[in-house]
Symmetry: C2
Subunit: 100 residues, 2 copies
Amino acid sequence: MLGALSQGTRLNIIRHLVGKEREGASAGEIAEAVGAISSKASFHLSALERAGLISSERRSRHIIYRARIDSLGALVSFLMNDCCDGHPDIRACCGPAGGR
Amino acid sequence: MLGALSQGTRLNIIRHLVGKEREGASAGEIAEAVGAISSKASFHLSALERAGLISSERRSRHIIYRARIDSLGALVSFLMNDCCDGHPDIRACCGPAGGR
DNA sequence: TCAATGTTTCAAGAAAGATTGAAATGTGAA
DNA sequence: TTCACATTTCAATCTTTCTTGAAACATTGA
């Protein structure tokens, strides 16, 4: 997952999809939004899906992609807890709204 | 930073250094801890330092590395806020101890 | 069936990253 | 000075990842 996110185009795709959590977006719309030709977008969408960060669903001619919020949460959790051993200063960075 | 963390040896280095936040650890100790020959460890330590995730300080013959907790916090914060737009379900993953 | 649309797959090349062993650098002690 | 130790740098090689354009596949509507 970290590898999947460490690439500009893919980070932009995630940002776009998090902003459209419910609706999701088609491959073409995503490609346009991030300024990539179709094959490039498809390549990166595959990488993100392989990493489990997004999901896809065919909807007639379009393929709708959605961010997997659960996976993003798991990644943040991994960084906080496994990688950083729950260090309080790192937890604190979430801001006062964190925790629930 | 995401790229720097998306590599097994480097993730292990970070884990080792977070566990020794105060003391830090020398290049040699780190190399042994993560099972890497010296040049390999040095290569990855450089990458982590270039990314701002660790700092180094010469101490006579040794070079002591330390995790930069502030940077790790900034990275988690980036994922939560910039990348994921502060999505509540992602924030929630911090667990009940989050926020301060 | 045919054509149009949306998307992926493929092949090729370019670029970036990882690993290794040997050599070089810096430091302290005899 | 010289030696030993800790670490980095270098060069070579290998692997992986990115990008592009063309071709293929899937779906829909005329």
